[in-house]
């Protein structure tokens, strides 16, 4: 069963997606949430990052392209990392600017959270973001994440300090909001 809804799909990153993912990484508005990287990532860097991975039963991360279910057009990137068996994981995502404001981030998170709670069986999922990323904070809260930590001046970006924020979501809180997941 794929990680898929009527609208979007989370799937493996394929050769034909690399240029799209590189473009996301080279956009300062959509790359990693805190550590700003020079927008000089190349296709070969990403091919090494993702294609040199070997199969393992001990994975602690997962990386996906978010694509439209009907056309398979890539529209974003989603990932989890820091997976500790049956305990916790962190998630993150980036949506291409041309697809902002269409609700795709919410749908992608629903799929990713469902996978981590239902299949990976984690107890809690953490969401790190920055105080200047209002869209990210609003999305996390909309998904049910609870404000937890605010580290002042945690990041310097765009010429100013912002706070690093951590929100978290318990499996029990997720199932309260998605009771059908338990009986599906």
């Amino acid at each position: 069963m794929a990680l898929e809804s009527k609208t979007i799909r989370l799937r493996e990153i394929r050769d034909e997606d690399i240029d799209f993912v590189v473009a996301l990484r080279n956009d300062l508005g959509t790359q990693a949430w805190s550590r700003t990287l020079p927008p000089d990532t190349t296709r070969s860097m990403y091919e090494k990052r993702y294609h040199d991975k070997e199969f393992s039963f001990d994975r602690t991360d997962g990386h996906f392209v978010i694509s439209l279910t009907k056309t398979d057009e890539p529209i974003g990137y989603a990932a989890y990392s820091g997976l500790k068996d049956r305990h916790e994981a962190m998630i993150g995502l980036a949506i291409a600017r041309t697809h902002w404001g269409k609700g795709y981030a919410t749908l992608a998170c629903d799929l990713l959270l469902g996978f981590l709670f239902d299949e990976a069986g984690v107890h809690i999922i953490r969401w790190w973001t920055t105080s200047d990323n209002e869209g990210s904070v609003a999305l996390a809260r909309k998904l049910g994440f609870v404000d937890g930590v605010r580290l002042r001046n945690g990041i310097f970006r765009a010429g100013q300090f912002a706070d690093n924020l951590q929100l978290d979501l318990l499996r029990s809180e997720w199932y309260e909001r998605h009771p059908t997941a338990l009986t599906a």
Binding site: S34, R35, H87, R126, G148, N153, D168, L170
Partner: protein, 183 residues
């Protein structure tokens, strides 16, 4: 190997661990009072074998690592009474730090002395503009130490591990350079 950190007016100093410290380190890391807050090795308090501690000491001698773990010693006679760590793998501007004092030496202010040393090092000799630390919510003495050093509680990360049948929350603390300099 990293140089040590000391001040003429301090009762303690921080120096690199040496292979000969393995016995003392193994002993206090495995004491029941320390095992849940030792800031090395596994999150859960599985006993650490001496060989595992020797490997830790070897890892800590890596000068390329974006972290340091130093032996906390008394200035008077150089006795190892704990360790202090800092790590800045995510951002050199916002390192994390931790202090562990051998339970036999607690209650004498050595933790505060060590904290002052490492904070002075981070704020005066590195790029740090804020320092963070994370302390389990049951660890009242650790919370008191952080507060005495000027840290401000910055929130709570829920369910960071299990301890004695309960979920433990981890409390976040931060201290800005401007606050440290004003103190």
């Amino acid at each position: 190997m990293r140089r040590g950190i000391d001040r003429p007016d301090s009762r303690v100093a921080l120096r690199p661990f040496a292979p000969g410290d393995a016995s003392e380190l193994t002993a206090y890391l495995n004491r029941s009072e320390t095992s849940w807050a030792r800031y090395v090795g596994p999150d859960n308090p599985v006993p650490l074998a001496r060989a595992a501690v020797e490997r830790l000491i070897e890892e800590w001698s890596d000068s390329e690592a974006k972290s340091m773990t130093l032996a906390l010693v008394t200035a008077a006679n150089g006795e190892v009474i704990g360790h202090a760590s800092a790590w800045w793998g995510w951002d050199a501007g916002t390192p994390d730090m931790a202090i562990v004092v051998d339970p036999r030496f607690r209650g004498r202010g050595f933790g505060r002395d060590a904290g002052t040393l490492i904070l002075r090092y981070l704020f005066e000799d590195t790029m740090a503009w804020a320092v963070h630390c994370w302390i389990d919510d049951w660890n009242e003495s650790g919370i008191a130490l952080a507060t005495s050093l000027g840290f401000r509680q910055a929130g709570r990360s829920r369910c960071t591990r299990r301890r004695q049948g309960e979920w433990v929350d981890s409390l976040a603390f931060d201290l800005l350079r401007s606050e440290f300099e004003a103190d």
